[in-house]
Symmetry: C2
Amino acid sequence: MRRNKKERQALLTATINENPFVTDEELAEKFKVSVQTIRLDRLELSIPELRERIKTVAEKRFEDEVRSLPLDEVIGEIIDIELDQSAISIFDVKEEHVFKRNQIARGHHLFAQANSLAVAVINDELALTAKANIQFKRSVKLNERVVAKARVSKIDENIGRTFVEVTSYVNNELVFTGDFEMYRSKTN
Amino acid sequence: MRRNKKERQALLTATINENPFVTDEELAEKFKVSVQTIRLDRLELSIPELRERIKTVAEKRFEDEVRSLPLDEVIGEIIDIELDQSAISIFDVKEEHVFKRNQIARGHHLFAQANSLAVAVINDELALTAKANIQFKRSVKLNERVVAKARVSKIDENIGRTFVEVTSYVNNELVFTGDFEMYRSKTN
DNA sequence: CTACTCTTAGTACCTAGTCATAAGATCTCG
DNA sequence: CGAGATCTTATGACTAGGTACTAAGAGTAG
């Protein structure tokens, strides 16, 4: 395992990259050099210490979590709402929403925006989607901003259903339409 | 901010849970008690020290890095697939997928599972959803396992469309159906 | 042989703790 | 009101996994 400096440093980078949880002591053993040498190497390669490495990994996870949590609330940001009437939300298409191959947004994100807007517009504790009829008019690309508009078209108190039409646009160009039949509780 | 022990410990747990990157010193300041008190609290509540907390967060990220890649591709786990024929995926409903109020899964997750399965079953580089007609037959609850089955019903080479029917079940009980009209590129 | 790089060693210091002990502060109950 | 229990704070010794700096020996090239 004893190699020259260059080789060792290359391997060191690779090793730490693969497993950032490795200590200097373990690395020293692996490469049969002293701990100090490892530290000099890290210094030269500007690789931070174990704790810093772990911290950045943890922080990244945390960031991701924050991004994935709004997936639990409303997809997109509601910018206007009149209960039982209409609502508007915007949704910015980021890396994590598109197919890597062609940068086109996955359909379920557009659906999610529209569906959660349909849920939000209903003035009720409990609103669930019963049926939906949707059309993807044109594909949405990375970094585009989707504006979804929901309009309540009919409220049928008898069968406890509310009908919501959602249309989504990118730069005033229609990209998605959906007719949602929403179930609403009669508990209020 | 000075409270009795019970209150403080409850808040402490919540605070650390929300932001595991907080040190004992910061917590001491926040609750206007000494660092030692915070340490006794952590001991009683068996909350590990900062570095251990950060480490477990980082380790989790590392573990599900492998899992999160397919998760970004397909919602749910594909357990069987025959391209251009049929496919099956399972999706376990967790905390983050349900409405807090009633523990019912948000519709867009069921849609996402079905939609991404419809995308996956198509033997093509580029498959996009053009239209979909969906019905939520009964609500799905927390911790239920949804099995989605996709079946390709028709391939129209002329207009470049593939029709996929997806049915989702919980314990053999139908919870969701969807008819997807998928756009497929003619490039291959 | 000298000059240079590379490697190793050692010391002081740091953070964010643990563990144990002791003592002061508060509360509770008889 | 006072004694005992509980809670809080302080102190000291020790830990991992480092940084920063100085110093010295080994190996090699010119």
